[in-house]
């Protein structure tokens, strides 16, 4: 390995790679320290699928227009205003040129999509998904001469006055250190550190599943925050969705999602309903169910549907639990059988005219006199066989991160840290204070990764 490294990039996902490639193209010598082993490289970018992109007129795989203002208003809707407008608009405005840049760096986009989400106007989908993007970027980074170390666990960045003086890390069983001119931190959030999550969330967090990489443990984030680097975002906030309860503890990714809630009733372990399953179309309401499940006893929920709804949603990765009667289904799912059939009977009784049922839009087919009501897609659950899924809370990412300015530079209370930049999930809380906008994580990572790489190289040169 070269000893004269100009820039150390910590992390190995989209933002890290964008920073490394940009810095290398500016002539700097760059080293990526990726915690994961090679097959798991790429952080959560491995599990992503698309990139939200502003554009005037058709652009690459995108159709029509998606203006800065429309994009920003979409962001305001999900964050309820918890965003830094200057940074958000910078990310949005720069996203347009990023698409071309991504293609020039080996990313292939899908021409059109026949899937369930109609996002052909706002989101560009990677051919093969995020891992293929990550693969393309590693190829490109290697061809630009970037040194890549896998299973390199960064333990400490030494902040002295307003500079990072050295980077300590463990690699191949040895403690090593680098003394680069500049450092880019792009090592994600802390959601894979269950203890940290439990400190922030309380004991229920022990039952959460982590949808993405097990390597985002926030070690560098904690180290920098301990040394007074400014933070942004709420430690108690994380993006959580309801996923298949049988999903792996870590890394289940996209396949663990369940799209069946709107056509179902959802009960807790006592067999009681607790929320309007028909509140809104699924992608929009997907995110709230993570929190709803987290508030239930043992942080579990159970979806119950009947035969007529089975093919109305995307296929699930694990087959549903199937039974000829509700009592049998309850027994298989460890629910109180009497209570479940009572809940279903009560629900069925509250269902009215279902002739306007329409699975893909808000159809107003609602219950009457039921608490909580089901305000759309309310059809009696009465056609055997009956099917069930268990639900658990799946954490996508955490919001607490490093505060940055428009140059992606970090600071302390005393002012900027001269040679420290941050990009990606670790600073996304600056822009995404809460909620989530599909494909926006990749936008933030790409935009700020490139800025961080450029600024770090400028400083190093």
């Amino acid at each position: 390995m070269r000893s004269d490294i100009d820039i150390v990039v910590i992390g190995g996902g989209n933002a890290a790679l964008c920073a490394a490639m940009t810095a290398a193209e500016c002539g700097a010598s760059v080293c990526i320290l990726e915690t994961a082993p090679k097959p798991y490289r790429g952080g959560n970018s491995r599990h992503t699928r698309n990139f939200r992109c502003m554009h005037k007129g058709p652009h690459g795989p995108l159709v029509d227009d998606y203006s800065e203002d429309e994009y920003f208003s979409d962001l305001l809707k999900v964050t309820a205003g918890k965003t830094d407008e200057k940074l958000a608009r910078l990310a949005i405005r720069t996203s347009e040129e990023c698409l071309t840049w991504m293609q020039e760096h080996g990313v292939h986009f899908q021409p059109s999509l026949s899937g369930t989400l109609s996002l052909g106007r706002t989101n560009a989908f990677f051919m093969g998904g995020g891992k293929s993007l990550v693969n393309a970027y590693y190829r490109k980074a290697e061809s630009l001469g970037v040194t890549i170390l896998y299973e390199a666990h960064v333990t400490h960045l030494e902040l002295v006055d307003d500079r990072i003086e050295l980077v300590s890390f463990a690699h191949e069983g040895k403690e090593k250190r680098l003394v680069p001119k500049a450092v880019v931190v792009a090592s994600g959030g802390f959601q894979a550190d269950t203890d940290w999550l439990t400190r922030a969330w309380g004991p229920p967090a022990k039952n959460f599943l982590i949808r993405g990489t097990p390597y985002n443990r926030g070690v560098v984030l904690a180290d920098l925050l301990d040394q007074g680097v400014s933070s942004v975002g709420d430690p108690t906030q994380c993006h959580a969705v309801a996923i298949d309860g049988r999903a792996p503890k870590f890394d289940g990714g996209i396949v663990t999602r369940l799209d069946c809630v709107p056509f179902s009733i959802v009960v807790n372990k006592h067999g009681e309903r607790f929320y309007d399953e028909g509140e809104d179309v699924w992608p929009k309401r997907y995110a709230i169910w993570g929190r709803l499940i987290a508030q239930q006893p043992d942080q579990v929920g159970y979806v119950v549907i009947d035969a007529k709804s089975l093919e109305l949603f995307m296929p699930s990765v694990f087959p549903p639990i199937k039974a000829d009667s509700l009592e049998e289904l309850a027994a298989k799912m460890d629910l109180p059988p009497k209570k479940l059939s009572d809940t279903v009977a009560e629900f069925n009784l509250a269902c009215g005219n279902t002739s306007k049922f329409h699975p893909t839009e808000l159809d107003g087919v609602a219950t009457s006199g039921l608490l909580p009501a089901k305000t759309n897609w309310a059809r009696p659950i009465d056609e055997p066989p009956f099917y069930g899924y268990s639900l658990k809370t799946g954490v996508t990412f955490t919001y607490l991160g490093l505060k940055v300015d428009e140059n992606a530079q970090c600071s302390t209370g005393q002012g900027p840290v001269r040679n420290l930049w941050a990009a990606g999930e670790t600073m996304a809380g600056s822009i995404l204070g809460q909620g989530y906008l599909a494909g926006f994580g990749m936008t933030i990572g790409t935009v700020f990764g490139r800025i961080a790489g450029r600024e770090a190289a400028k400083y190093a040169n």
């Binding site: 097959p39 293929s132 990765v317």
Partner: protein
């Protein structure tokens, strides 16, 4: 068919169906996504539609060491291999060739070559050129059945395949679409036109697509050359040997060169590729088949170059021995893949039009 291969392919297909990230790579995924449950016939069709480009494997977030342990190219290769053995007629031949293809190819070429040399030692056939070694009548009486039998055997296999995959009556438009796809090797283009991931992990390259096309078009040119010669012989009473500015030579020479270059390239690619992303048990048989193609083309070219030397009778015996082996083994070797792939592409064209 072996249910464990089918079970494993089914398990993986269900995970792919919940993910759908690979949608754009090849025809397998749109076909897969149109189902919710996978019958054995569905899996057989998907397996024969898969061209083993490996794009999906390298893009997959669920490959080993992930606990889902996806390796769809391998799972489909195993089912595909099984389906060819299962549909072959007579079935026992196929099983034997899959397990020890290279040895059988070598043995068969040797036997047939010795056979032709033996005929030669029985004395001159009285003709000129090659026919001095083996008379035209003898050649025809050996090669005509050797050509017809494999076609008959393959016709049975294709019928079995068609019934297993619930094929519908074939229309011209289905055939046009299938041939169009094969002519461009669309399913090795990676969906974005940059080729596949065959020989060097996740790097996209056109190598396999180009090498395959060289072999395929080379073979078709050689086949056209032989057909042209047959027509010249019977319709125009113009027996071999033919001069360089004749149709058989103008077709056969570039055809032979393409086949030699293409099969060497394919062998080199196969040596570089990860064996574990195909059916490991079929690797030897596939290599044996490409080697046989190479031998057919190479001896054909050498025969042309050294036709007037004393090596000619030996070369002719080896050439005829390898051609005979090639034809006779066609229903049981990788050569059958061309027929199955076309059937799968036709079936896929039908599916697309029905949806």
């Amino acid at each position: 068919m072996q249910t464990d291969f089918l079970q494993e392919a089914r398990r993986q297909a269900e995970i792919c169906n919940a993910c759908r990230y690979c949608e754009g790579y090849c025809s397998v995924f749109p076909a897969l996504h149109s189902e919710r449950v996978f019958s054995d016939g569905d899996l057989t069709q998907l397996a024969n539609l898969c061209h083993n480009c490996r794009g999906c494997y390298y893009a997959c977030q669920y490959t080993s060491p992930h606990e889902f342990d996806l390796n769809l190219p391998k799972a489909l290769a195993e089912v595909r291999q099984e389906s060819w053995e299962h549909f072959a007629w007579p079935e026992a031949f196929a099983k034997r060739f899959q397990s020890s293809g290279l040895m059988i190819a070598i043995a068969s070429v040797l036997c047939f070559s010795v056979f032709f040399l033996t005929i030669r030692t029985l004395g001159s056939a009285g003709g000129e050129g090659f026919y001095a070694v083996l008379s035209h009548t003898a050649m025809v009486s050996i090669f005509l059945p050797a050509f017809v039998f494999p076609l008959f055997s393959l016709a049975i296999s294709m019928r079995r395949y068609w019934s297993a995959t619930n094929g519908e009556p074939v229309r011209l438009s289905h055939i046009v679409e299938a041939f169009g796809s094969a002519a461009r090797m669309k399913n090795l283009a990676g969906g974005h036109g940059d080729g596949c991931n065959f020989e060097d992990e996740d790097r996209f390259s056109q190598s396999r697509r180009l090498a395959h096309q060289a072999v395929m078009y080379g073979f078709l040119l050689c086949f056209a050359s032989t057909s042209a010669a047959t027509i010249l012989h019977y319709a125009f009473d113009m027996p071999a040997p033919y001069p360089i500015w004749s149709l058989p030579k103008l077709l056969g020479l570039p055809g032979g060169i393409l086949m030699v270059a293409g099969s060497l390239w394919l062998m080199a690619l196969k040596l570089k590729a990860d064996k574990n992303l195909g059916a490991p048990s079929a690797w030897g048989g596939e290599m044996g088949f490409v080697a046989l193609l190479l031998l057919v083309a190479l001896t054909g070219l050498l025969l042309y170059a050294m036709g007037s030397t004393s090596l000619m009778p030996l070369l002719l015996a080896i050439h005829l021995g390898s051609v005979l082996s090639f034809f006779l083994l066609t229903p049981y070797t990788k050569m059958a893949h061309g027929f199955y792939r076309l059937a799968a592409l036709i079936r896929e064209a039908q599916r697309k039009r029905t949806n």
